[in-house]
């Protein structure tokens, strides 16, 4: 990166933090700190909700996924608009009318304290583990690319986010998210335009689609039902619906964002906007990856995008690696020739030549894939712990090699900003839940308003940030266990959702019945995780059905014990 890029990166990050601190100034009330004074208009709610979900990994892995695996990941989001409708109809009016600070407060009103504690505890466990990973994952990628120490990068990432989150709370989070997310989207749009302009002259959108389709990158829809496959229409619509319902309806990091809306209408419009824009945005991110794939059909890509993998090659394997690189360049040239033949055959409307060119292109791609496989084997032979995946590095490799000075720094700032967005919302949610659902209940004399309450909330936010950094440090030693920790975090969603759906729709079910159903559901989901191959997207549906079903069945035996309190 040039001096200009470092200046843009440093200046932009400093501006984001200063903006957050300025927006969060002068807070005196707890509702300002926890839910931004419930004063946000819908555009702020919408951008905040979207920014919370779209972490740095979304903008790094998304294009990489499009590059390596095509468009099929988009189906994961098909259930999202339907989930938004259910939340607009049910959750928002209830949360807004009750003026709760956290979603789990509602469970106390509807059921009892133990059910609230169970849901809040599961959230703290799940989100507490994941906030560390949401700092670590992008830090690892950025540290490799920038040549920084991963611990330093984690620390920097956490410090940037916690500076304004601890000081300004939810208000600072919402304002910075809106600004940062707008800049991120604009930067990604400019990056996509640069990729498009880098394609050889004369290559049309139709040519790009033909090239991507010929090599299987336009796989945006799969109608075949397979419960073990997480990306098809049905898992996206049904499994995705329950996952998004759980995430947006019961995860405080999202509920806390739309509780900032100044009215039911403003919160609803925020979620409607999210429902309308999220899938097109995801299509755009994956499309950027597919466009990068097409670009690298015309321009020889690196043999392995991840610099850490390349650096791992030891002297004993250096000559073999160089030979593989030479072979890779030759095979990429053959693939380019086959592609040009295919495009020429299509223009000449010659089906026989087109079929031959398609077969030749597929064969050339197979040769390249085989060479790549040998390259990853060589990396492992050099260093068994070296990374063998490089999809997360495809986009940033292009950025570094092909974007103009200044814009490179802005893209890196956007990646940092995306991480700050999700981390700040998570820290704010963890702090809110810890203060409202744990401390104020365990210690009834704990401060609830004024300077002491604000100080307590700020200290708790700092505490969670410290925990996140420590966990991120620990994550660097977890290796392949990271994915397991990530999936473990998602095992609790279904149970929490089941509790909330029971609360919303099964009015005759009391606290004890729902609580028992939740415990059984959690045990079943954990058993499914360890004993079956069912895709995790279905766990939410399984847990929901068990909580609601068992709750209804037990409600005949256990009388409802829910309390009704005055507002």
């Amino acid at each position: 990166m040039s001096g200009l890029d470092w200046a843009v990166l440093g200046g932009t990050l400093a501006f984001f933090v200063a903006y957050g601190l300025w927006r969060g100034r002068g807070e005196r009330r707890m509702d300002e700190y926890l839910v931004a004074g419930r004063a946000m208009p819908w555009p702020m709610v919408a951008l905040s909700v979207m920014a919370t979900q779209a972490s740095a990994v979304t903008f790094l892995s998304g294009p990489g996924q499009g590059f390596a695996d095509g468009m099929r990941f988009v189906q994961f989001y098909f259930g999202l608009p339907l989930a938004m409708i259910v939340l607009c109809v049910t959750a928002i009016p209830i949360y807004q009318k009750l003026k709760v600070f956290t979603a789990y407060e509602y469970l106390d009103t509807r059921f009892d304290g133990k059910t609230r504690t169970l849901a809040a505890g599961l959230f703290l466990l799940q989100r507490g583990l994941q906030v560390g990973l949401s700092i670590y994952a992008p830090s690892l990628i950025l540290s490799v690319i920038l040549g920084w120490d991963v611990r330093f990068t984690c620390m920097l990432m956490a410090l940037l986010a916690v500076a304004y989150t601890a000081f300004g709370g939810s208000k600072a989070v919402s304002h910075t998210q809106a600004l940062q997310f707008t800049i991120i989207l604009a930067t990604m749009g400019v990056a996509a335009a640069v990729v498009w302009s880098a394609l050889p002259a004369g290559v049309t959108a139709g040519d790009a689609a033909t090239a991507a389709g010929a090599l299987g990158r336009l796989n945006a829809l799969e109608l075949r039902f397979d419960p073990n496959d997480r990306y098809n229409l049905w898992s996206g619509l049904i499994g995705g619906f329950f996952l998004q319902l759980a995430y947006f309806g019961t995860d405080q990091s999202q509920v806390g964002r739309y509780l900032t809306g100044s009215s039911i209408k403003q919160s609803r419009l925020g979620l409607v906007f999210n429902g309308l824009v999220k899938i097109p945005m995801q299509l755009g991110i994956l499309g950027l990856g597919v466009l990068l794939f097409v670009f690298y059909l015309f321009v020889t890509p690196p043999l392995f995008f991840n610099p850490a993998g390349r650096a791992a090659i030891d002297p004993a394997h250096r000559a073999e690696w160089t030979a593989l690189e030479d072979r890779h360049v030759r095979e990429a040239g053959e693939r380019r020739q086959e592609l040009e033949s295919l495009l020429a055959a299509r223009k000449a409307a010659d089906p026989t030549a087109e079929a031959a060119a398609r077969a030749g292109l597929a064969l050339a791609q197979e040769k390249l894939a085989a060479t790549r496989k040998e390259a990853t084997a060589l990396i492992t032979a050099s260093d068994a712990k070296a990374p063998t995946s490089d999809t997360n590095y495809v986009f940033l490799s292009f950025v570094l090699a092909h974007l103009p000075a200044g814009l490179i720094g802005l893209v890196f700032a956007a990646v940092f900003a995306a991480s700050m967005n999700s981390t700040s919302a998570e820290l704010n949610a963890l702090a809110s839940t810890t203060v409202v659902d744990v401390i104020q209940r365990v210690k009834p004399d704990a401060p609830r308003e004024g300077k002491r309450a604000l100080l307590l909330s700020r200290l708790v936010t700092l505490g969670w940030a410290g925990f996140a950094v420590l966990f991120a440090e620990f994550a660097s030693r977890l290796g392949s266990l990271i994915e397991a920790v990530n999936i473990l975090g998602s095992l609790f969603y279904g149970t929490i959702l089941g509790l909330f759906l029971t609360a919303f729709y099964a009015k005759r079910v009391g606290g004890t019945a729902a609580f028992t159903g939740a415990l059984v559901a959690q045990a079943v989901v954990i058993a499914c995780f360890f004993l079956t191959k069912i895709s995790f997207l279905w766990y939410n549906l399984i847990a929901c059905v068990i909580v609601v079903g068992l709750g209804l069945a037990l409600s005949r035996a256990v009388p409802p014990g829910g309390r009704v309190r005055s507002a």
Binding site: G70, M71, V74, Q75, F78, P81, L82, M84, I85, C88, V89, T90, P93, I94, K97, L98, T109, R110, A209, T210, G213, A214, G216, R217, L218, N219, A220, L221, E222, L233, I264, R268, L269, V272, G275, L276, I279, P280, L283, V564, R565, S566, A567
Partner: protein, 42 residues
């Protein structure tokens, strides 16, 4: 206003039906677009 009364008086679809219909219509259009892309795959 008791909390449970607050819940029961929560508005349901009402005049928001247009927004919800728009979201469903856009989802259908996106699925059709994805189907069109998939038809050009392979």
């Amino acid at each position: 206003v008791s909390r449970r009364e607050g819940e029961e008086r929560a508005p349901l679809f009402g005049r928001w039906i247009g927004w919800y219909a728009l979201m469903v219509a856009e989802l259908v259009a996106i699925i059709l677009f994805c189907g069109w892309l998939a038809s050009r795959n392979g």
